[in-house]
């Protein structure tokens, strides 16, 4: 019985993670709490007092509306960040990928190993956020559990295409660009903190092109108990297309890099 190559590669990342998991887990817990307090107490008290806000938010408090957004954006940020510098490190700096390519494993195993590890990391981070959310009555919901699974998918839908991108990057300055022009705008305009309908149509379409909004909608449906199953299926399928395309392109590009 052989261990799948992806798991062998992921065990490398796991070993490295064990060196800093405590600190990492703590920050995964504390950060959403800060957001919740800031947005809930600050922004939320303003929004909820505003006549008509209930119609836009779907008759829930602002904090309850934002909570699933926090779950999903956390996974996005983690999946994206962990697929930039670490990927470049594997190829160019520490060259660990070349070390793996010299064994019986190959590019596909490295890409699937990264995906496996990203699923684990996003799962851990999203579970920490869910735990933080469960501490407050307004955001506590069984829907957080499927929400964590959605967060894993969204994390992968950013991790894998960005891994494909990072494989071709020559200077790590490009990563700051991805953060500034993709991740932060999606964080702000991706439907996590207010409904997309508040934005101009063109911006709405741009936001809907990326997988974040789809994940936020599904997670919100789950946590608010307003699940529309065909809609959920459609959104998850769209997210999965991003993951599959990312894996495919990353594998082809990595093969080209490792076996020139």
């Amino acid at each position: 019985m052989t261990t799948p190559g992806a798991f062998r590669v992921a065990s490398w990342s796991l070993t490295a993670y064990r060196r800093f998991w405590r600190l990492n887990l703590l920050s995964s817990l504390v950060q959403p709490m800060l957001y919740l307090l800031g947005l809930g107490v600050g922004v939320g008290s303003l929004v909820d007092r505003n006549v008509g806000s209930g119609d836009v938010l779907g008759s829930v408090s602002y904090v309850a509306f934002v909570a699933p957004g926090l779950l999903i954006t956390t996974a996005m940020a983690l999946g994206a960040g962990e697929s930039m510098w670490p990927v470049m490190g594997g190829l160019t700096w520490q060259r660990g990928y070349h070390g793996i390519a010299a064994t019986e494993l190959e590019a596909r195993d490295i890409v699937l190993g990264h995906a496996t590890w990203m699923a684990v990391r996003c799962g851990i981070a999203a579970a920490a956020v869910a735990l933080a959310l469960a501490c407050f009555g307004e955001t506590r919901s069984w829907g957080l559990i499927p929400g964590v699974l959605v967060a894993i998918l969204v994390g992968l839908s950013f991790a894998m295409p960005i891994m494909a991108f990072s494989i071709g990057v020559k200077l790590d300055g490009a990563f700051a660009g991805v953060q500034r022009f993709l991740i932060i705008p999606l964080f702000l305009f991706g439907g996590a903190f207010y409904p997309l309908t508040q934005l101009p149509t063109l911006v709405q379409w741009i936001a809907k092109f990326f997988p974040l909004w789809h994940g936020v909608v599904v997670a919100r449906d789950f946590s608010l108990g307003t699940v529309d199953w065909p809609g959920v299926a459609g959104h998850l399928a769209y997210i999965s297309v991003w993951i599959a395309a990312g894996i495919w392109v990353a594998t082809v590009r990595l093969r080209g890099k490792l076996y020139p």
């Binding site: 052989t2 261990t3 062998r8 590669v9 065990s11 490398w12 070993t15 490295a16 060196r19 520490q94 060259r95 660990g96 070349h98 070390g99 793996i100 390519a101 010299a102 064994t103 019986e104 494993l105 190959e106 490792l258 076996y259 020139p260």
Partner: protein
């Protein structure tokens, strides 16, 4: 050390693979080529490496040594020609070949944030060794690489020579039948190089086939039973270090250094002494079977070099004679 040998030599494993074809070479390359776009890195070479041999690719930077090694290691597709490793085609059996070889790349690919032993364990995991087996082999290899005391150190804190030894130890975790070393001692100080050579010599004695590239003459002379000299993608000579020196150089070499700009002026006056003369930027070489005699003749002709040295001919001289260029620029 004895424990390590008993476990490592693993004769049973190797015999299993080789019984049907004891005479078949481990590596066969015929008219092997590698092109990168317009640039031809390897230009139609023929090479055979036998089991148990220590074989070297010698040449300056850019001669095509590393490209050849990467094709043998199945991490670079062959452009044209024939290549078989263990009788298998790298194009179709890359993973199967890589499972049976160890690779020490030119640049270390260690995880510098992990400990020495973690690097070994994880590499064992890539070959799907059970955790306990990976740990057992790692302990033996640490002993072999003289790194046992640093087992728990983070790799970043190791010296260059230690990192290189760890790379070699790591490449042995799958008990390879063939070890490929790409410039194993480049950038190391003399003492670290000698330690490394000693370890490689032990491996050879244990029956591991070694294939290495180097641009160091002394390294090739120390380690290789047989070698090819490469230049601009082609093989320009082949043989044992001794036979190459005998074939292409004289027994001894007289090195003369003259005062500022004196080398060029003195060069014509040396004509006829020894077998041939070579003018280098910083010195003049006279190839002669009797160096002392050649020096006496030079003195008789009224030449007064600032320094004169008679030494044995080396592969450096072979390379110089074959290509007209010196190896290390």
């Amino acid at each position: 050390m004895r424990v390590w040998r008993r476990n490592y030599s693993g004769r049973a494993t190797r015999r299993k693979y080789y019984r049907p074809s004891m005479t078949e070479p481990l590596i066969v390359a015929e008219n092997l080529r590698k092109r990168f776009g317009e640039f031809t890195a390897v230009d139609g070479i023929d090479v055979q490496v036998q089991k148990g041999e220590a074989f070297g690719f010698l040449g300056p930077n850019g001669a095509g040594k590393s490209s050849t090694m990467r094709m043998i290691a199945c991490v670079s597709p062959v452009t044209s020609g024939h290549l078989r490793v263990f009788g298998l085609d790298p194009a179709t059996h890359g993973a199967a070949i890589r499972r049976r070889i160890g690779v020490v790349p030119q640049l270390d690919t260690l995880d510098v944030e992990l400990s020495v032993q973690e690097n070994l364990w994880l590499y064992g995991r890539f070959f799907d060794l059970p955790r306990a087996e990976a740990k057992r082999r790692a302990a033996e290899l640490l002993e072999f690489a003289q790194l046992t005391e640093r087992a728990k150190s983070v790799v970043e804190t190791l010296s260059g020579g230690m990192k290189r030894r760890l790379s070699i130890a790591r490449s042995l975790i799958n008990e390879p039948e063939l070890l490929l070393l790409d410039e194993p001692t480049t950038g190391l100080d003399p003492q670290a190089r000698h330690v490394l050579w000693d370890r490689l010599y032990r491996l050879k004695q244990q029956g591991v086939t070694l294939v290495l590239t180097t641009h160091y003459m002394d390294e090739a002379e120390q380690l290789c039973d047989r070698l090819v000299v490469m230049d601009q993608g082609k093989i320009v000579a082949e043989g044992s270090p001794r036979s190459l020196i005998e074939q292409y150089a004289t027994r001894e070499v007289l090195e003369l250094r003259f005062a500022a700009d004196g080398n060029e002026a003195a060069f014509p006056k040396l004509e006829g002494i020894g077998d041939r003369q070579e003018l280098l930027p910083d010195r003049v070489l006279v190839y002669a079977d009797d160096g002392e005699h050649a020096l006496a003749e030079a003195h008789r002709r009224g030449l007064e070099p600032e320094s004169a040295l008679v030494r044995r001919a080396s592969l450096e001289d072979v390379f110089l004679l074959l290509t007209g260029r010196s190896l290390v620029d």
